[in-house]
């Protein structure tokens, strides 16, 4: 029987691999997700064939978990997707931790190797859980999304990490007599997840979520080593690799190292240094903007986190359709780190029925920016700040941006003149070809739509 089960796991692994492969194109992605889910279902069903399982507790856990998971998945708003992913991610992490704990509780006589992976599973799983909960809190606004920094923070984190390693060594050396040490590992892991994520600010969350995603895979991997199960190792490694790749893409898109994102407390110091861009800001009325848009041959929308906050994705699509009906070429340029998780803007616009072939990546739009008539910046700030290109003293110098300033006209929809996440003034607002349309993004776009409908 066990042979059959293990061969079924091989099939599951193949389904996961094909599922991920199909995720690489929007046309096959949905089927890919279903293929991957089928792999999971197969693995679960054959696992239930093991002799001597305690089905009543299994049934309880599966039913309760499925209900919670389904309700959460179908209730969540698309704008709240980053925190939902963080939450699910944390649950995967804590499951790996609990699994290692349960195995150790029943069989404390471990070989050195198994003791090591038990420690890793508990530690990585615990960090994933509490780190994800902090990320969830920050993204949902339950706790401040600003970077929380205090003096000596690096020392504190270093000390916690050292304590964890010390406990890990002690546990690995003598697992059978180290139950209290194991509990200490669990406690330290939960603490470390909090202290390591709390100093990271809101706009750096795409990196954090990607990294935690990777951790949850590695925790599952370590749990696979604990119970000698290849399917956990294969699946966990695939997720670990995917998280690392996304983390890397996000860091590159901000021109910062992972260490800088994790440890610098970026955005915590909002001290507006003297100097900065000066000049006159030219506010516009919806009517002014209407005349500009009405005459434009090509319009590029550049969305940012403000679009999600204002829930403006549907009205943007409506305005886009009106413009298209007017003979204007409409597209949407998306910066890799716009929003609070990788691909956040793409999901919101897809929700509003914007076809994905109108969504253009940064590297694709920049070369032809000179021929664009109007760029409409909606709730984005740092990712369109030209200072990143030429001002070496700017904290965001070197970050690739969407070069909206090269379009003939830039219209910036903004609530007020407050600086963005990086705490710096945006010189784009003072450019001669920039017009500011102040107000809530959704209300502003509705006003524009009303202007079009009046004609």
């Amino acid at each position: 029987m066990n042979l059959v089960i293990n061969f079924a796991y091989v099939v599951s692994a193949v389904l996961f691999i094909f599922g991920l492969k199909m995720l690489s194109s929007p046309a096959t992605a949905r089927k890919g997700n279903l293929v991957s889910a089928l792999g999971m279902l197969l693995a679960v069903v054959v696992t239930l064939l093991y002799a001597g399982l305690d089905y009543k507790w299994i049934a309880l856990g599966v039913v309760v978990g499925s209900v919670i998971g389904l309700v959460a998945a179908y209730r969540v708003q698309m704008t709240a997707m980053p925190e939902m992913v963080a939450l699910f991610n944390g649950f995967g992490g804590i499951a790996s931790m609990l699994l290692a704990w349960s195995e150790y509780h029943q069989q404390p006589e471990l070989t050195t190797f198994i003791a090591l992976v038990t420690f890793l599973s508990a530690f990585i799983g615990g960090v994933t859980f509490s780190g994800s909960m902090v990320a969830f809190g920050k993204l949902s606004g339950a706790i401040t999304s600003k970077a929380v920094v205090f003096s000596g923070q690096h020392l504190v984190n270093g000390a916690i990490l050292l304590a964890a390693l010390g406990c890990g060594a002690a546990f690995t050396a003598a697992p059978a007599t180290s139950y209290p040490v194991f509990l200490a590992v669990v406690g330290i892991a939960l603490l470390f997840g909090v202290t390591s994520v709390i100093p990271i600010g809101g706009a750096d969350m795409p990196v954090v979520i990607s990294l935690l995603n990777s951790y949850s895979g590695l925790a599952a991997c370590a749990a696979g080593f604990v119970i000698h199960n290849n399917i956990l190792i294969v699946a966990g490694a695939l997720v670990g690799a995917s998280g690392i790749i996304l983390t890397n893409i996000m860091c590159k898109a901000m021109n910062r190292s992972l260490a800088n994102v994790l440890f610098s407390g970026f955005g915590a110091t909002t001290a507006a240094k003297g100097g900065g861009p000066q000049g006159e800001v030219k506010p516009a009325t919806p009517e002014d903007v209407y005349y500009i848009l009405e005459a434009a041959d090509s319009v590029v929308f550049v969305p940012g986190y403000g679009l999600a906050v204002a829930q403006a994705q549907h009205v943007v699509r409506e305005l886009g359709e009106i413009l298209e009906a007017n003979g204007t070429e409409v597209s949407y340029a998306i910066h890799p780190v716009a929003g609070r998780m990788p691909g956040h803007m793409n999901v919101l616009l897809a929700e509003a029925n914007v076809p994905y072939d109108q969504l253009i990546e940064m590297d694709e739009i920049n070369p032809r920016m000179d021929s664009v008539d109007v760029c409409v910046v909606i709730g984005a700030n740092d990712v369109v700040n030209p200072a990143a290109l030429h001002d070496e003293s700017s904290p965001i110098y070197g970050m690739p941006i969407i070069e909206t300033h090269r379009a003939k006209t830039v219209i910036v929809l903004k609530r007020s003149m407050n600086p963005g996440f990086a705490g710096i003034e945006n010189e784009l607002f003072f450019y001669p070809n920039t017009r500011m349309l102040f107000g809530d993004a959704k209300a502003s776009i509705q006003a524009l739509i009303a202007e079009f409908k009046e004609e």
């Binding site: 992605a29 399982l53 997707m81 699910f88 649950f91």
Partner: protein, 97 residues
């Protein structure tokens, strides 16, 4: 020796993962993340197998909690990914694609 074998599987899988994922376009990063997140709920398999009939009460509690959390991760993760991917449509296909 088994440790070596398992490590072999691990290392090869990491490389396979890098090959697979590096081809995903940025449009699909969010579904990729939530879909791979659902796969990381694979720890459910281990949690199910850990709930044996001869367990002590503490192990039953830990195992049941692990199964519950992992199931939320798996079911919720796949469901929410499916919901997102349903919305990705091409232009001018007419009607529900």
């Amino acid at each position: 020796m088994e440790a070596v074998f398992l490590t072999f599987v691990f290392v090869l899988s990491i490389f396979l993962g890098f090959e697979l994922i590096s081809k995903v376009p940025s449009t699909l990063h969010t579904p990729l993340m939530s879909g791979s997140n659902a796969i990381s709920g694979i720890t459910l398999i281990g949690s199910l197998a850990s709930l044996r009939a001869d367990n002590t009460a503490v192990a039953v509690a830990l195992g049941t909690l692990a199964v519950t959390f992992a199931t939320i991760n798996v079911v919720g993760g796949y469901a929410v990914t499916n919901r997102m991917l349903e919305m990705f449509k091409k232009k001018d296909k007419g009607g529900a694609a």
